[in-house]
Symmetry: C2
Subunit: 402 residues, 2 copies
């Protein structure tokens, strides 16, 4: 502690977020759906203090999802209804939801099946649950599609190798690399036919676009409040169909060998309670807005397609992933910008820096050949500014623009 | 979704925290140490949006603890130093820290030893990690002390029964029932002698009082940002000694069987990243204040002892747990108030209601015979107001006050 001088501690004073400034257009793929509503910002201050939502926790059955002031109990019900599933809980992160599902529905050593475009945290969740992962390959460049047939084949292979179907099948509804919308309904049907629990990772879909868990056949749907529900991190959504809810939300069977203490009301995999404060308040406060905003999804996709069309006017530039786009997350491949970067004194950073000069951030600094962006929630005028900026930068460096 | 009408959704508009009002004295045992500093409130707004701290995540080794803007990497180092341990991470909850420790240091089926006053989440964390719990008994009423000798006996019993020492020994530094300060240093010594990892649950100590993890012999120290570090929920502290850090923070060894993807930089038990936004910002913003405030711990205890002395003037009323108090969490037993409650038309609620009329909340409504409170951070004038209020209520109902 001798080193924790006031001087050194001064670095925590006046913490500022450079990209929080008004007027900046942030294209960061993970950040577009997590921008707070004004209501959520108010809720943050109201429920900022520690265990702020616990003032009225029912003493006899203390549990987050049973609190009625603020209306947490009702919110969990409304969440489930919004996602067309039976039961919902708020957990700390989407990845925690995946871990909870894997560890509840599979035993250590079991096989689970995931798409090869799954988020890295899917693999870690499986590893922590001590289950083996079998991947479903995608179709490769340029579209990187995931097919139900490929799912069927991998499920069949697991059955041949282990003598039984996989314990869980996970599909990434929209993947973090290309923003492809996967064939969830078809994979869900396959799972139902084979009696395998279907886990849909809706981190990039639920909260920004309409998601009907029942129609898609999801037994478990996980989502991310900070990614797609206009909420602060960390917040995850865990929504369950009736067939698995009891297993996933099993109650504690632990009993103290001396004290005799037991906790039969507590949900083991949730470790009792999860998000006891501010981020949950933001999730609730933004919920009316989220229910409304998913109705505008088609317009969001139109904006993305417009931007893609404009970017593809640049020499050597194309959108990767499925065409036409059905999601706002885009991966761009640009041999053109890459060529410039090889001769530029700022190397690949020129693109980031020239965008930045135009008030646009969120493209990973240094990247030119492949980079990702997300247009979700940008106004048309902002989309046009982004498109024009890219075209201007291209022209400035001598790339042809059709 | 048919039912998610604007009317129904209106319950999420204008969310307010009744107990957030200025001037109210809140004695809720879990809430005193989690009240935000003004700096933390500013940080909340600055970093409210989703993945707000991830703007400058290093692309090649993306991980929360490596981000330098805001200074997360430095913060983890300062946290470890503050707790006199080698490495620190911020996790989503203290209970997640316990689960991470149990699941990293013990294998399914192993025995872990915990004190019989452990927080309920300790048992759930063990259950989720599939380990068996052996409890160390306390001394019973009125002091409910935990002794190093009792630890030694239970550790010895585990050794006799299973042929080897327990995989982890956990001690609750200050328990949530009586606010007793447990003999951590002695239990730590015992663990070191027997080569057993010592897990100290410092949820009620680190952040409010000085805690020297090294001196106490902690291999793992877990804490709670929302309970004791003036931070928003959910935030947990996981601090580690050199002997176990590598095991607890082991890197992912998963490899995709088709894609070949691997994640050797990611810490498996943390599922990669943990608190990617607002609550972490509050924890950092409050840190300079926390470093300072632990120096005032003795004065905090003096205030508690004063209040206890005043409350014990009431007929049939005594403080439970160790005497004199060494922590600000207090359990009160009052046969006097209990007798009143049996004849009062509002039953046990009279006490809550009459305190409330005096601007005091946080005592669990309905309780009189045994209730808990926490004085941490109250000013002397507030302590005196609380004391006078209890005495007034006692007199009003005919209880003798010495």
């Amino acid at each position: 502690m001798g080193n924790l001088t006031p001087e050194r501690l001064s670095r925590y004073r006046g913490l500022e977020r450079e990209f929080g400034r008004e007027g900046l257009i942030n294209l960061n793929p993970i950040q577009r759906g997590g921008i707070l509503t004004p209501e959520a910002r108010r809720a943050l201050l109201e429920f900022g203090d520690g265990y702020s939502v616990c003032d009225w926790c029912p003493p006899r059955t203390p549990r987050l999802d049973r609190i009625k002031r603020p209306p947490l109990a009702e919110f969990m019900e409304d969440l489930a209804e919004f996602l067309h599933l039976e039961v919902a809980r708020v957990v700390t992160r989407c990845r925690e939801g995946k871990f909870i599902a894997f560890s509840s529905l599979a035993s250590p050593g079991d096989c689970v099946v995931v798409d090869a475009l799954a988020h890295y945290s899917t693999y870690l969740a499986a590893e922590l649950a001590r289950v083996k992962v079998r991947e479903v390959p995608h179709s490769g460049p340029p579209e990187f599609r995931i097919s139900p047939e490929a799912y069927g084949e991998v499920m069949e292979r697991v059955r041949r190798e282990t003598g039984r179907p996989p314990s869980v099948v996970l599909l990434t509804h929209v993947d973090p690399f290309y923003g492809n919308l996967a064939p969830a309904e078809e994979v869900g049907k396959l799972c139902r036919e084979q009696g395998v629990p279907f886990l849909l990772n809706a981190a990039y879909t639920a909260g920004v676009m309409p998601v009907d868990g029942k129609k898609l056949g999801a037994d478990v749907l996980v989502g991310s409040g900070h990614k797609s529900w206009a909420a602060s991190a960390p917040t995850g959504i865990l929504a369950l169909g009736g067939g698995v809810a009891e297993r996933v939300l099993r109650r504690s069977e632990m009993k103290g060998d001396v004290s005799g203490r037991s906790f039969p009301e507590k949900e083991t995999a949730l470790l009792g309670c999860t998000v006891m404060g501010a981020p949950l308040a933001t999730l609730m406060a933004s919920f009316p807005h989220v229910v409304e905003r998913v109705k505008g999804w088609e317009e969001e996709v139109r904006k993305t397609r417009y931007l893609v069309k404009e970017l593809e006017r640049i020499e050597g530039t194309r959108q990767l992933g499925e065409k036409p786009k059905r999601h706002t997350l885009v991966q761009v491949e640009s041999e053109g910008f890459y060529r410039i970067s090889r001769e530029h004194r700022r190397r690949g950073f020129f693109l980031y820096e020239e965008l930045r000069e135009r008030g646009i951030v969120g493209i990973q600094p240094g990247l030119t050949r492949h980079f990702k962006l997300n247009t979700y929630g940008l106004k048309w005028e902002e989309i046009k500014l982004v498109a024009e900026s890219f075209l201007e930068i291209a022209r400035r460096h001598g790339l042809a623009v059709t």
